[in-house]
Symmetry: C2
Subunit: 357 residues, 2 copies
């Protein structure tokens, strides 16, 4: 197969991980007889520096023209003082919206080799941590109206609004149910239905969908309770579906309990097969340029791209198995180091994974 | 001193913990020569059953007439099917707003005797968990406009709005700084300033206040990152100040890492000294009527009332020291049991704490 991949190299230490990821993709292409064409697209800090805009239309167009998009991570101290509209994050939000990527999949899975790095007690980890947060990505308070005005008494007031309409809930709800069907068949909808109208609308749509997925065990949980349960008893979860902001908070918490945030990929999809694939970690400005950042989450994001956008299951397996073997050999990057393991830099970790493919 | 306390007995297992708390308050009154007058006020499920309204004005008036309010916990399966406005939670929200309680203080502190119950690794717990979340309680999306309407295409849309004005931020911001001044002098403002206008307004107000509290080390963190940091490195926090919804989620997460949610009290205060004191746990419907619920969080809430509303520091110390001694003796309720300890019921735990005062 021949595929066009738009590559957003990202900021700070991000180009280092993207570089290793492309080496891995090339190796897979060679081994399985595919051709991957890469088109660089600028987004985030890089785009601000080049074009004064975190995502100019011509760069978004490159992403829309590709079969899928690979992203490192954007942002850094250099761009932090800028006003809201010109910040790197805004580029990411506009990319998600511009590509129609309403479904963000964030797996929280413990690699057994890295279990000791979890901040949770071994007894809890031993029960298993393997769930997915399906986060709605282009609705809610992220994309509602934001306004700041001056009240009659002279003080400022800001209002962010959090809108959700039925079709927005339905399409992500279906992804939740379908994801559960492919796994342990348990779906938990997380919301704050005791306070929010949007949550109550979510529940009513979910209840309607539930009838169509009788094989899935469906439950509901308040977001505050979920924040507790993720720490107390993560083994209870299979698939969580939730709105944008709650998904942002809970998926970060969930990634942390795996103890290896440098290992967690994510996919963002819309209606077609074109997706955006990125590690869930940030651009790690503090270690940029030192060739010590962990490229694994980005490499695993590429594996997700092969699996979900290109239908290349075997190729995706090859990458994931390679990562597994590397961990088995006790090879680690600095963020995951533990006694008795060997510490590799970013390039060396890329080499090690390549060698197993 | 003579004080009037409005008592909301609450639902399900709540009256059991309130009963023990009143015994403790009476013992303190006797020992230190005070008189506490109690007035029962109905809120939540009890009020729905009696008056068809989770907080009728006459019950709110009783709370407003008191020197402070003691609350167990409200809600339960019996009232879950009711529409939003008639649910027990709505009574709680109206009580908070009606009493002007904008500042909710939720301590996350490990009792050394209960450290093994934390879901976190001993290495992390050993670094210490002792911080307070100062949560804004009567603004934001909890009290913004909630609306559900039908769009032109026939589908429903819900919109929740999240408003904050400068004075609302300033008053809670000051509580944050002042709380930090009385502790380890570190304040972290948690928000989502890369997305929300309200968060950006929070930051601008906090920056203005910062100049007035030069002795406090001030920092800022995004809420998603904070959800990670609470699990990864809770020792870094002293005081966190945040808006209502983020505070709801983070304080529940924070309470869970202490491993003993049945031990955590909270206070809610406004401009005067009249406050609302309640455990952070719920009404535990599953164990209602069995005399096994842990009364300690409610008893410690009463201690906070003595300290913060009545200025009775010595009396508050007496209660907290009593709880400490009871734990030292290995006395526990079922929720906290561990090997080698003695398991007591709710009344027996009340007796044990009383005996140490
Ligand atoms: C950078 C930020 C706007 C973004 C988000 O909140 O969605 C990030 O935290 C994420 O989760 O991808
Ligand atoms: C019951 C609910 C409305 C309430 C809240 O969200 O404030 C509760 O979770 C709390 O934190 O006191």
């Amino acid at each position: 197969m021949e595929k066009n991949i738009a590559v957003i190299w990202g900021d700070c230490s991000s180009p280092e991980i993207v570089k290793q990821t492309i080496r891995v993709l090339d190796k897979v292409a060679e081994k399985y007889g595919h051709t991957f064409h890469y088109t660089d697209a600028a987004m985030g800090g890089e785009a601000i520096d080049k074009y004064g805009d975190p995502l100019p239309q011509h760069e978004l167009d490159k992403c829309l023209a590709a079969d899928s998009v690979l992203l490192g991570a954007v942002g850094g101290p250099k761009w932090e003082g800028l006003p809201g509209e010109q910040r790197p994050e805004k580029g990411l939000l506009r990319l998600r919206a511009g590509m129609g990527l309403y479904s963000n999949n964030r797996p929280a899975k413990i690699w057994p080799q890295l279990a000791p790095a979890s901040p949770l007690k071994p007894e809890i980890v031993a029960q298993g941590i393997d769930f997915i947060i399906v986060r709605e990505l282009i609705g809610g308070v992220y994309f509602g109206k934001h306004e700041t005005h001056t009240l009659e008494n002279g003080e400022k007031q800001a209002i962010d609004s959090m809108p959700y309409s039925e079709h927005e809930i339905e399409r992500i709800g279906r992804i939740g149910f379908e994801t559960a069907q492919k796994r342990r068949k348990k779906l938990c909808c997380v919301d704050k239905a005791n306070v929010l109208d949007t949550s109550r609308l979510w529940r009513s749509v979910m209840h309607r969908l539930q009838a169509e997925y009788p094989d899935v065990e469906y439950s509901e949980m308040f977001v505050d309770n979920c924040a507790m349960q993720i720490v107390k008893n993560p083994a209870q979860f299979d698939v969580i579906v939730t709105e944008n902001m709650f998904g942002d908070i809970l998926s970060d918490e969930a990634s942390m309990i795996t103890g290896s945030i440098g290992m967690i990929p994510s996919s963002s999809l819309g209606d077609g097969t074109r997706g955006l694939y990125e590690p869930i970690h940030g651009s790690a400005p503090d270690i940029a340029g030192r060739d010590i950042v962990n490229p694994t989450a980005c490499i695993l994001s590429a594996a997700m791209m092969l699996r979900y956008s290109f239908g290349m299951a075997e190729e995706a397996d090859a990458i994931e198995n390679a990562v597994n073997k590397v961990l088995d050999k006790g090879l680690r990057t600095a963020d995951n180091m533990s006694e008795g393991c060997t510490c590799l830099g970013c390039t060396a970790m890329g080499d090690a994974i390549l060698a197993e493919i």
